[in-house]
Each structure stands twice: as C-alpha cells, then as structure tokens.
Amino acid sequence: MTASARSRPAPALPRILGQIRPRPRWLELRLLVLVAIVLVVGSASLGATVRGRPDAGADLFDPSVWLPLDVTALAIYLGALFAAHAAQVLAGRRTDQVLLPAVGMLGGISLLLMQRLPQDLVGSGFFGAEGLGQVQLVWLLLSVAVATTVGIVVRSDSWLRQYKYTWAAAGIALLLLTFVFGSDVGGQRLTLVIGPFSGQPSELLKVILVIFLAGYLSENRALLVEQDTRLGPIRLPPIPYLVPMAAMWAIALGIVVVQRDLGAALLFFGVFLLLLYAATARISLVIGGLIAFFLGSAVLATLFEHIGTRIAIWLDPFADPLGAGYQVVQSLHAFARGGLLGMGLGNGLPMIGGRVTIPEVHTDFPLAALGEELGLIGVLGVLGIYLVIIERGLRIGAAAADDFRSLLATGLALVVGIQAFIIAAGNLKVLPLTGVTLPFISYGGSSLLVNGLVIGLLLALSDKGVEPPPPPRKRRLDRILRRGAP
C-alpha cells in the first residue's frame, strides 16, 4: 500500500522496430474464419438466386449454380480482411480482437447487398472499378486499410490531445466551407466538391467533434462537476463553462438551418450530451440539453418549410404515398415483404418497371433492403453487430488509462452507434428520415473511410500501456478565470 497519487510512470523506452515480436490473435482469426464462412454461404445463396431465376428448373446438384455471385470480389475482400489480421499479428500490439471481425462482417454484408442492387445506381467508376458492387469493394478495401494502418501506427494520442482547439477550428472551417461552397444534393447541402474529389464533410466532422469534446471535457471535468451556479432550484455548472454548451447547441441548430441536415444535427448533439453525461454523471444537463434541442427544432420546423415537410412525412407518410412519402412508404413495404425470415438475398424487389422501388436505397435505405431480403432475423443480427461495436468501445473507454482516452473511446463508439440508430429508426419510421449513412453498410466513400478511421482509433486506444498518458495540464479556462477574478 503506497501513496500512488501523483507518482508518474517512467517514460516509455523508445521502441526499435526489430524488437517487435509477432503476437498471435487467435480470437480474431477464429472470428474471421467464421466471417468468411458466413459470407461465402450468403454469396452462394445470392448467386444461386440470381442464376436460378431465369429457368426455374435449375439443377440442385450442379455446382456452378452455387458459385458465389462474384467470386473474385468476395475473394479480394476476404483476402483483405485476413491481410489486415496478418498485419496486426506481425505488429504485435495487444489491441482489440473483436472489432475487425465485427466490422468485416458488416462490410461483407454491404458488399453482398451492393452486388445485388442495380449496378447503375452509381455514375462513374474509378481504378477500373465499374458499377455499384465494384466501387463499394474499392471503398471497403480502403476503409479496412485505414483502420488497420491507424490501429497499428498510432501509439501516442498527444497529437489529438494537445491540439484540440486546432481540431475544433479545422472542423468549424470545414463546416463553413460546406455552408458556402457546398453543392445541394436532394435539398441538403452536404457535399463538398473540390476538383475531382467530392466528399461529405459532416462525416469527418463527427470525429473532430468527439476529439474536441473528449479533450475539453477531460480538462474541465472536475469544475463541471463540483462548482454550481444556482438559478432558483436548478443547479447549473458555472456560467463560463456553459458557453461551449450553448455554442454546441447553436452549431447543431445552424446545421439544421443551413445544411438542412436534421440527422447530422441530431447525431452531433446526441454525442455531445452523452459525452457530457459520461464526463459529469449529471442527468440534469442531458435533460436540459434535450429539451433545448427539441424546443429549438420545433421552432425551426414551423419557420422552415423543409424541416416541417420531413416531420409531416414522418407523422403520416401515407398522406402522399406517391410523392413526398414515397421513400418511407416503400421502405415500410420492404420491411413488410421481408417478414420474419426474409425473401432471401437477391430475391427482393429493387426494380419495378425499370424504376428502383426505394430511391437512394444504397445510401439511405440499406437497412430496408436488408429487411426485405434477410427479414426481421437478419436485421436484428445486423443491429446486434452494432451493439457489439458499441460494447467494445465502452469497454475500451472503461479500461483506458485516463479521462481523455476514456471519453475519446466512448465518444467514437457512440458516434457510430447513434448514427446507426438514427438511420435505422428513420428507415422504420420511428424517427423522421434523415440523410445520415448506415455505418459500414451504406454505399459511400466518405462514410466508409471515416468509419474506418474511427475503428482504427478505437484499436489504437485499446492497446494498454504502450505510452502512458501525459501528466494533467493546468486547465486553461480555469487559469484565465482565476487571473480575471479579483
């Protein structure tokens, strides 16, 4: 029993590359083998459905019928997963072994889905990839590469910790850039086009937000918890600390107004409130924030037509089933057709009379397509994998060495989880439909790359004790306040 309060661990010895010993990851390997089996079986069922359809009398014992739909694409994807596994084994870090198989499974399901949807949903290919399935394969490979690289290479978090205000400034700049130069796609100003590249900055913004909040809250946690400003019966944190919260609220509502993106606003504000709760354990702040957000949204819904329309569609999509409510109505029909066990991969109805039944099915409604083809059982399985990812993130956060890493891991897991929840609820008409993507399943480069980055950071954070966290810094805001006080 020793006084361990301020004792600082000895600085980590510099590592020489040659000293890194490969470390087996049996759990990850076992789960990845299972992922491969699941995907091969799924792909075989997809292939047989597609090939068997023209002539109903296909031969049960003809092996060529049961080949996966696109053998090379599946082989490349599974090869990439095992390569990522091998790279992590060679790197020898003691990182999490569940995240890669869980994400790999989601990505594989995404690949099957994109191969099965009409291939001309995406306009231009690149890297010699043509059509939805192949382009998605390229993005999936890049995403796995990003996750693995970040998970292996990142050993220190000081570049995130010390420059949090710089990150926040970069995030706001990105947001403003989208406000000004963004191009409108489908009534939402989300896409930023720079030369040949186009991307959705709000995807990257959510990671920046988590980094900033983790840094800010871990520095000011004690003050937020202990000091009070009494406003009648309500206990509030000291006024200067409320300013960032009010700013967050304003930014969230600003996104709603300017970008017309209710989903991103909900995501940002939800992550903010949950991290605030994780840091301070004060439920009153969360409730107050939620009330403020919903009041603000309600006011905006009456002021701005597009938000009002969204809410009207949500309340009654059947009022205009062929016009405004078309997407949601078709999505509900798709879930209904799927029933308990689904119609089988490749057996849904993506096209009726040359028209895609659910517009934007590959970005906004992949869960509806899965619901139609895999049924309730399949959708619950997919949602279960998201729960696993959230659990891993929270565990990594709970085991982290200090507040910053803890909040960062919690926030990164929640950002993926809440996003999946928001779009799943939108597909099911539980929440108003919003334009966020379903992480790891939706088609789209920005989404896949950024979520790959999130997983990479979680992997890096899950490695205990590579480098001890730096000693706590003097709280900047506190210092300024004290200086100003008499």
Binding site: S45, V98, G378, R395
Partner: protein, 145 residues
C-alpha cells in the same frame, strides 16, 4: 416445389443461422472478457484522499489506494500512518466486505468520525464520505479503473 428451391431455402436459412453463430461467438468472447475484468479489478478497491492534515504527514492531496483491510494510526506498522498528535497508535480499521466499506474504531482516545458523527464500534462508509482521525480528514473515493 423442386429440389433446387428447397436447397436454396436451406442455404438462406444456413446464412442467417451462421450470422447468429458469429454473434454468439462474439458475445461469448465479450462475456469472458467482462468476467476477467471483474476478477482482475481486485488490484485497488477504493481510494482514500487526504483533505486536511495539519502535521503534513500524510500530506494533503495524496490518495492512498486501499486493500480489503487497511489499518490507520500513528504507529509505523499501520498500512496508513497518520502522524497526528490527536491520533492513537492503533486508531481504526477500514474494511471492504462484499460491496460495502466499514470503519471500526479501535477504542481510540479521541475517536473516529464519519461526516462529523462519532463512530461507536463499526460504521458503514460510502463513497464520498469523510473520515476524521485526529485532525486528519480523509475522503473515501471510488477506485480508479
């Protein structure tokens, strides 16, 4: 219904079944991980934070990590030595049983106080409670994970 369709049906169900086998395997790994975490967490059960100490030993601001049994007093053989003129040589014992903390006064001359109330025999202690021994005030805090 011909053989091919039945075969296709079986493969589809197999896919869903395997998906759940995968989930089951993951959840089993997670449960094992959680169980290991609860067992290895015995390294530190709680912390005792020094709030006030006129003599300077123990110094203010230090947090002691606690085992299941911690003895407090002026004698150097105590697990936490409290070098205070008003503390007895063997003053009190702090124990962790099940999920709760208890403090037992060892017939000290000046008594042990929990949140300002004198302890008669044994008293329960919660996180955040203040313990006073002599002129030294200590606060019980949750273990840091």
């Amino acid at each position: 219904m011909d053989g091919f369709l039945i075969g296709l049906w079986v493969v589809r169900l197999l896919f869903l079944g395997l998906l759940y086998l995968f989930l089951f395997q993951i959840v089993r790994a997670l449960v094992r991980d959680l169980r290991a975490a609860t067992q290895s967490a015995t390294a530190e059960l709680g912390r005792l934070h020094v709030l006030a100490s006129p003599s300077g030993d123990p110094p203010v601001g230090v947090a002691f990590s606690l085992d299941a049994i911690t003895s407090l007093g002026r004698d150097v053989n105590n697990s936490i030595v409290i070098d205070d003129a008003f503390a007895s040589t063997e003053h009190a014992v702090l124990t962790f049983r099940g999920r709760d903390w208890y403090v037992e006064d060892l017939d000290s001359t000046n008594g042990t106080y929990v949140n300002g109330n004198r302890v008669e025999g044994v008293a329960a202690l919660g996180y955040g409670d203040e313990l006073q021994i002599g002129q030294v005030r200590l606060r019980l805090e949750r273990a840091r994970r």
